[in-house]
């Protein structure tokens, strides 16, 4: 078993991961496009009109996958954070930093599409629904993570501080979610809430899953691109970056 673990660690060194990531990025982009096109086609051209919400419901093909990704990416960030703290591998810290902006973007998109869905359905741009409110708080957690890492100059300390914040955050997410849910049912009753998604016809569910897969592939591709930039930035004084850069210049 340990030789598999060994070569995993070999790839964990930024120098050997850099070219590997380079090769994987086009693959993930292709998957993202394929799943995206399939999902959107199913969602917008095949899925039937909803009885109550007419055509407006199609926004869920973007809203729900975005919300899922915003949560999923934070969990993956916390995972890399834990790995970075336990095994002290530098690459995991870089992965967490590379994922944060994409996670923040999906949280923003979930809020944006949630508002655009709430306006026609409930007449208000912002609905204090339990899930939307938790999404807003998740957005603050992302911004806090990014702001903390931006405020620390030494990359090693930035990684470790970010990792601790991400782990503290991931422990607090369920607590925040349940307290917001309690707060929502307490003050408003469950009348106004997005949780009551329309009954899911088969094609709707499939379309949403495909879109979610597309967003996932997209996130991996974008995170790999960003992590390559971070690796170059942090290892700019090392020998292999010198060859890598000059070789790239010669190639062009």
């Amino acid at each position: 078993m340990n030789n598999r673990l060994l070569n995993w660690f070999k790839f964990a060194s930024p120098q050997s991961f850099f070219p590997l990531a380079g090769k994987m990025i086009p693959g993930f982009w292709a998957l993202a496009v394929i799943f995206g096109v399939a999902g959107l086609y199913l969602g917008f051209f095949v899925a039937p009109t909803d009885a109550q919400q007419g055509e407006g419901y199609r926004i869920i093909f973007l809203h729900v996958p975005a919300a899922w990704m915003s949560m999923f990416i934070y969990l993956v960030m916390a995972f890399w954070a834990a790995i970075g703290l336990i095994y002290k591998t530098r690459l995991s810290g870089m992965m967490a930093s590379a994922l944060a902006p994409t996670g923040a973007m999906f949280t923003f998109l979930a809020l944006w599409t949630g508002a655009f869905w709430g306006k026609p359905m409930w007449g208000a741009w912002w609905v204090w629904d339990a899930r939307l409110t938790s999404e807003l708080i998740l957005f603050f957690l992302y911004i806090g993570f990014i702001a903390l890492q931006a405020a620390i100059d030494d990359p090693r300390r930035a990684d470790k501080a970010g990792a601790i914040l991400a782990l503290v955050g991931v422990v607090n997410i369920p607590i925040i979610y349940f307290s917001v849910k309690w707060w929502n049912t307490l003050h408003q009753g469950a009348s106004v809430s997005l949780t009551k998604a329309p009954s899911m016809a088969q094609t709707m569910l499939l379309a949403m899953l495909l879109c979610a897969l597309a967003f996932w592939m997209y996130s991996v591709a974008v995170a790999l691109m960003r992590v390559r930039g971070i690796i170059l930035e942090r290892e700019r004084n090392s020998e292999w970056v010198k060859q890598q850069v000059t070789m790239a210049a010669a190639g062009r």
Partner: protein, 205 residues
């Protein structure tokens, strides 16, 4: 017995030193030499466990200090550039609190005796805010008078001290070594310490 093997320190992007190793037995003093910025303080902080070395290992009584944790820290006394005293507290309060925090409570008359040894008689109950830089350093050094822990790590202990104070501190370190203690210190002025063997370690090019 303290032992370090091929220690490496990376500060930001620059590697300050690599492959640094030494062995220190009871009653010995290691004097760390090197220009400013050669990583002397970083090495001391590494020995204490405040900073993790980029590579290499530190062993205390044959066991890695990273694993020992509290046990190693119970035998360690570190004095950095900062005096580690509170300006609002008096020298007496500072000394009593730092001793208790280190897990070795000090009786009040011992503390007063220590303050007298370092030449702060009469100023025991004055808030440290009103003391001079040299006097504040003496409050920090007063800790060493009754210090019984085995390993002393001192970062430039003689700075801001007058000649009399330097001799006094050298005497304290000498007594510590005679009791079979170990000491690692950095200093720019060569100071004769009446002790066992003095080892030298030069850092940097």
């Amino acid at each position: 017995m303290l032992e370090a093997s091929n220690l490496e320190c990376v500060r930001g992007e620059r590697r300050l030193f690599a492959g640094v190793g030494f062995r220190l037995d009871a009653g010995e003093l290691l004097s760390l030499q090197g220009a400013n910025g050669s990583g002397k303080t970083s090495l001391l902080r590494m020995l204490c466990g405040l900073t993790a070395p980029a590579a290499g290992e530190i062993r205390w009584r044959g066991q890695a200090t990273a694993k020992l944790g509290g046990e190693f820290r119970a035998e360690l006394c570190y004095l950095g550039h900062h005096n580690a005293i509170k300006e609002e507290l008096t020298p007496l309060e500072n000394l009593l609190t730092s001793a208790r925090l280190a897990g070795e409570p000090l009786a009040e008359d011992n503390a007063l005796d220590a303050l007298e040894t370092v030449g702060l008689a009469g100023r025991e109950d004055l808030a440290c805010r009103y003391l001079s830089q040299g006097q504040k350093r003496r409050v920090a050094l007063a800790r060493l008078v009754h210090e019984r822990r085995a390993l002393w790590i001192l970062d430039e202990p003689y700075v801001a001290l007058d000649v009399a104070a330097v001799d006094m501190v050298a005497g304290l370190i000498g007594a510590h070594l005679q009791r079979g203690g170990l000491a690692v210190l950095t200093t720019h002025q060569p100071v004769a310490v009446a002790a066992g063997s003095i080892r030298e370690l030069r850092l940097g090019s």
